[in-house]
Amino acid sequence: MQFYGLYKTAIIGKCNTPQPGYFEFRERAKWDAWNKIDLTKEQAQQAYIDLFNTVLAGQNQGEIAQGDEKLEGVKVSVMTSEHTTPAASTIFDFIQNGDIAKVKELLPCNSVDANGMTPLMWAADGGRLEIMKLIDADLDAQDFDGNTALHYALLSENRECAEYLISKGARQDIINSDNETALSLK
């Protein structure tokens, strides 16, 4: 049953369904196993493998809950994200998410983030041309790494955003801390 709980958590995440009725013994036991696991999806995936390996190494044999349910594994594997994403709260988050309505509410905005990045830089980095067009700010401001919005547009391979900045007259000769100018990145 421990297997089952970890498996469910690994595949679906924390227990997210109501507890089955008292007389549904089988369902109830499964639910209890799942609900007992207080791990993130990621932790549960590792724990499942660890448990599998110890069980198969010959210990814990009583714990195996074979064939409790047809447990579909993931097939084409994709990357798990190693970080949790907090709910968007700053203008920088909203720009990163492309939430134009929220960004409009918060503009104009002169603040920079912890790395000295302006909203225009975040928009250029994220390829958010529409948002860039809403922002009226110093095109050549630099963050703590010396990057301008144009550096970001080029480093993140957003051609259109770079062209837009150049058409607006952004300088191409500013050097960042990696000794790169917009010209050298083009």
Binding site: Y7, I11, E42, Q45, I49, F52, N53, V55, L56, A57, Q61, I64, Q66, G67, D68, E69, K70, L71, E72, G73, V74, K75, V76, S77, V78, M79, T80, S81, E82, H83, T84, T85, P86, F92, D93, Q96, D113, M117, W122, D125, G126, G127, N147, H151, Y152, L155, S156, E157, N158
Partner: protein, 395 residues
Amino acid sequence: MQSKEKKEKEAHKFWNTQPVPQNESDVQEDGVIEHKEVSDIKQEPYKLPSDFEWYLVDINNEKDRTDVYTLLSQNYVEDSDAVFRFDYSPEFLQWALQPPGWKQDWHLGVRVASNKKIVAFISGIPANLSVHESKLHLVEINFLCVHKKLRSKRLAPVLIKEITRRVNLTGIFQAVYTAGVNLPTPISICRYFHRPLNPKKLCEVGFSQLPHNTTMASHIKKYKLDVSFLNLQPMQEGDVSQVTALLNEFLSQFEFHQVFSEEEVRHMMLPIKDVVFSYVAKDENDNVTDFTAFYSLPSSIARNPKHTHIHAAYLFYYAPKGLGKDQTRSRHLMNDTLILAKQANFDVVNCLGLSHNQQFLDELKFGKGDGYLHYYLYNYRCKTIQPEQMGLVML
């Protein structure tokens, strides 16, 4: 019958009837489960539901090849959200299904009798394994696929039984197979790892996520590859015998591994455009010191306005100078493998956390996947293999 056993029987109506360990406690020591003779095997094929017929695919015939390709590309393995689906190319299938000793008898399709459309497929190819020192001549079963409209009708068990019968008739009684699903009973479970080469595209298609508060600019920089260490050159015919020796020596360190003949290496490892990529490094006397190979397995992407495929290179076999004892060398070989995959325009390099791969995964910025591959043996008990003791990579 005790209630627990009964429950298990119901849970795997098919696999409970097959010569596979039903649970881990079944496996006290390695060995054959059911001893059979060719004369025990029935001569007639298993019956299919009426309307369907067996069909041996001629993979060298363009029409058949396209038909199997179409079946797989529309119905084969997907991710949990059905966005990405394996898209093995027709040329890939032609290569993968014809190693030395291949048999058309093991390229088994099911057709609709009326319109001759191929709606299911399963295949076997011969291989030699070493399992805890025992040598097994067996088949690798792969490309099991049932059309989406015919799922859950117990067709897969008929395919499995029929290919087993055909293989048994040649005197082979063991098979190895892998699956994303948990069946009775895995001998090993290996996790997938992914190394972005085109990190921006991977974010755009939802294969990976840009971490919160991280710029795309720095994300791209993080995965830049610049320095290469070894002078890797495409493997050539003249390298076959040295590569065979080097690869077998490397693999022999693991409890569970494939054993290659020169003919197999010639077929499986020599480069084929857009299918398999392989490289060697040589010393000043022209002796092969290192070998590395990957194969191309794109995934199609559903519902994306900008991209139709992820071009994934899957790490295949490799053998570093020092056979893994020189960890720096192993990392250099893999670093250069990544550079070559990048030059060949792949978006990502995928591998499993098996054999010595842990030596380089972190350092070379592979990230954990959400998929696990389960390894199984048919008609052979085998004590659990830890991933780092696994030396078999299937296509």
